[in-house]
């Protein structure tokens, strides 16, 4: 194992994760106002109507697939009767469907972003960088799946990538697991690390705003004028400090 392996499979993921966590905390505290989906639907909705739901549903499937494939040890799945063959069939079929949905959606969205004038003008440099990295992650993931799972003999990442990721989570990193992983999977993982590090500084933060609470709150929200102005919710203004009785201990006799 070389220094490079340590850097790539231990240092980089931890660095990316640290940036991911600290970045989100910082962004949330400093830039709540910039925390939005930055929807461009008001400019154009004909293409968005297809592209956006396709991409989003696809990527949700992809995320769910990764959670099952990487975070759940294969022994657990064996225990509930999902053997290697069944898993492989399921993962490849669903994964391919999700990939097609996601990539087609992303293609529509990128085409729209480039060709619809107002949408293109509303695209920031950060958006463009994010699109490149996100596209790379998706592309290399798809290439890896097509090369090794669909056309090739099938690569058992649950013996290498999965345990490696879990080893990182429990802070017992085992970089040796990644050394012999096929190159396309390796690039996919590295690109994903870059994406995670970039995440808090892009519009991707809207993922954490998925409005699940909407299902459980009352329809009409009331707030007091004073709620927004609780002590500490905004900086105190000089000259407006509250009036207090003076501290007698501070009195000094002349």
């Amino acid at each position: 194992m070389t220094t490079w392996d340590i850097l790539l499979w231990v240092a980089m993921p931890y660095a990316a994760f640290a940036v991911f966590v600290v970045g989100h905390i910082w962004r949330y505290r400093y830039d709540k106002f910039g925390w939005t989906t930055r929807s461009s639907q008001t400019y154009e909705s004909r293409l968005l109507r297809w592209g956006s739901p396709m991409f989003h549903l696809g990527i949700l499937m992809v995320i769910a697939g990764h959670a099952v494939g990487l975070l759940i040890p294969r022994e657990w799945l064996y225990a509930i009767g999902i053997d290697e063959h069944m898993y492989h069939l399921g993962a490849t079929a669903l994964g391919t469907a999700a990939a097609v949905l996601t990539l087609a959606g992303l293609a529509i969205l990128i085409y729209r972003r480039r060709t619809v004038g107002p949408v293109f003008l509303a695209t920031t440099r950060m958006d463009k960088l994010m699109y490149v990295v996100l596209g790379a992650v998706l592309l290399f993931g798809t290439i890896a799946t097509v090369m090794y799972q669909l056309l090739g003999p099938g690569y058992e990442y649950r013996g290498t990538v999965g345990p490696w990721l879990r080893s990182l989570i429990v802070f017992q990193p085992r970089p040796e697991l990644m050394v012999d992983v096929p190159i396309m999977f390796q690039i996919h993982v590295i690109a994903a690390n870059v994406l995670f590090a970039l995440w808090p500084f892009t519009r991707l933060v809207h993922v954490w705003s998925a409005p699940i609470g909407y299902l459980f709150r009352p329809y009409i929200v009331y707030r007091s004028r004073d709620d927004a102005r609780r002590p500490g919710s905004r900086p105190a203004r000089p000259g407006w400090e509250g009036i207090q009785t003076p501290d007698p201990k501070k009195l000094t006799k002349l």
Partner: protein
């Protein structure tokens, strides 16, 4: 009984001349920024006409407001919570900017900087969305007056709802202006539609606001509001709406639109209402009963039991006093001349309107009759079915009786006061005919025609003990990002710490004066220029010799 106070507005359409002063001053105060170029928190529509955004009243298409289910409960017209989340990636009911209009500016610097040539230079219109040349084909008031009537009037959803013969005769008979702001509803469907819970109704005064820090740009409020008075800022990706100028109200000043209304037709004041009865009133089965249902939600501020309950609910004494002097309460519940806009949306709107009588008077006068004679007026109101039906389509879900009653009261007031002015004495029969007394007609006359400033606007200030927390009083230097702090955050002008609502810093002002320049650099958007200083590009550069 749960007593709550609501700041609300009544507009006397009889006096609206359609001058758009309210719209312009509102825009200068609130929406003269990029991202909201197309947004008018206050707009004035010529009716009949298709409004802004186009045909917003067609709820079959836009799906705003509430509907009553068979079981008698209220449901958002465009679908419940699950439907909202399922369509969150692409809101099928969201209007595009083109449904409002494509904002533009003119290439003004061509007038100054064009090289000498054979032709007079022109300032071509440039799109504020793309920066390209554009052909202006619609705006917020494109069909102003008769400007669009022949082409577009027939598409007015209210007209289409009426019998078919009407549209063709309409042009000759009736035209009036409808200024619109956010209704600050008692049962706001925009608030109910917001997935993030960022929209809320203020407990103290019922103003509906968007928390800019919590809004995530899901856009459901825009489609949820049947009046289309929540707008999407396409630069910041957040919803914005009329705030009823709350920083001004908090210090006892009327809203900008009211303050600058040259017709003095706007009234501002408190209404006390029973919050426990709102849902029940909004879900009565008969649409025609909605008006009375909403009136019944309002409480009589002179009733000792109500005053007691209001005190227990923590409403300050001077607010109760203001509610008792409220012109809104008088117009809605005592004189019953004001009517809500589209009660059938079941949002319980709180900006009400006094329907216009003047067009009726004009018709009588132009036919050579006495336009101020009570009998003639009463007969004409009853006979002019078309205006009556149209007004009913706007204000009473199609029931002409309340509109007729309101117009008859206005007519009675006119005749009664003329009698006094001509020395013919007080004719109580006129007052009797509309179920009022001569005294109350005179009081109404004072409120509607004399319309003293302090009677039109009865606005209790927020309390002095809270003064340090009010936005309007904030010193413009005392916040993060003030002068010298640089202003914008690292993600452009729409990120970083929020600027207090009533304050603008030096950098923001400079940015604003020189922003919006997709067409040519160094150009000044004159609409956004506040008249201070001489931003670069306003004048041609001085030549070397000077």
């Amino acid at each position: 009984m749960k007593v709550m106070a609501q700041m609300s507005m009544v507009m006397n359409l009889d006096k609206c001349i359609g001058c758009h002063t309210c719209s312009v001053t509102c825009k200068q105060a609130w929406t003269n920024r990029s991202g909201v170029e197309y947004v008018w928190f206050n707009n004035v529509e010529t009716r009949p006409g298709i409004g802004y955004p186009r045909r917003y009243e067609d709820q079959e298409k836009w799906g705003g407001g509430w509907v009553r289910t068979k079981s008698g409960r209220l449901k958002l017209r465009s679908g419940g919570r699950m439907k909202k989340l399922a369509t969150i990636f692409s809101n099928p009911k969201l209007p595009e900017i083109h449904d409002y209009y494509e904002p533009w500016t003119y290439e003004y610097d061509m007038l100054l900087n064009a090289p000498a040539g054979e032709h007079t230079p022109v300032a071509k219109p440039k799109s504020l969305l793309t920066g390209e040349d554009m052909k202006i084909s619609w705006s917020a008031n494109w069909d102003d007056n008769l400007g669009g009537s022949a082409e577009t009037m027939a598409e007015d959803p209210i007209l289409q709802h009426m019998s078919e013969h009407v549209a063709s005769e309409y042009e000759d008979t009736y035209m009036f202006y409808l200024p619109r702001i956010c209704e600050h509803c008692l049962n706001p469907s925009c608030v109910a539609s917001c997935p993030s819970g960022a929209m809320y109704k203020r407990v103290e005064d019922g103003i509906v606001l968007v928390d800019q820090d919590q809004c995530r740009g899901w856009r459901m409020c825009v489609s949820g509001c049947p009046y289309k008075k929540v707008y999407f800022n396409h630069k910041t990706g957040k919803a914005e709406k009329c705030t009823l100028c709350y920083p001004r109200l908090e210090v006892g000043l009327p809203t900008v639109c009211s303050e600058t209304c040259v017709g003095r037709l706007r009234y501002l004041g408190l209404v006390l209402y029973d919050a426990d009865k709102v849902a029940e009133a909004a879900s009565v089965e008969d649409e025609h009963a909605l008006l009375d249902a909403q009136r019944s939600v309002f409480l009589d501020p002179h009733d000792p039991a109500v005053v007691q309950a209001a005190r227990e609910a923590g409403i300050p004494e001077d607010w109760i006093d203001a509610a008792q002097r409220s012109p809104i309460h008088k117009l809605i519940n005592e004189y019953k001349v004001a009517l809500p806009l589209h009660p059938e949306y079941r949002t319980m709107p709180m900006v009400w309107y006094i329907p216009p009588l003047s067009p009726v008077v004009d018709v009588i006068a132009s036919s050579g009759n006495d336009g101020e004679d009570a009998k003639t007026l009463f007969a004409a109101i009853a006979k002019l079915r078309i205006p009556l039906e149209y007004l009913a389509g706007l204000f009473t879900a199609g029931d002409t009786r309340p509109v007729e009653a309101s117009l008859r009261k206005l007519a009675a007031m006119r005749s009664y006061m003329r009698g006094i002015n001509l020395g013919e004495g007080k004719d109580e029969r006129i007052a009797d005919a509309v179920g009022m007394t001569g005294d109350s007609l005179e009081e109404m006359y004072r409120l509607l025609a004399i319309a003293k400033y302090e009677e039109r606007y009865v606005i209790p200030a927020a309390h002095t003990e809270q003064a340090q927390e009010l936005d309007e009083l904030a010193c413009s230097l005392d916040y993060d990002g003030g002068p010298g702090m640089g202003g914008a955050g690292p993600f452009g002008s729409s990120s970083g710490q929020q600027v207090p609502v009533a304050v603008e810093n030096f950098h923001a002002l400079k940015n604003r004066q020189t922003a919006d320049r997709p067409s040519t650099s160094g150009r000044v958007n004159l609409l956004n220029w506040d008249g201070n200083g001489a931003p670069t590009g306003l004048f041609p550069p001085k030549s070397e010799g000077e």
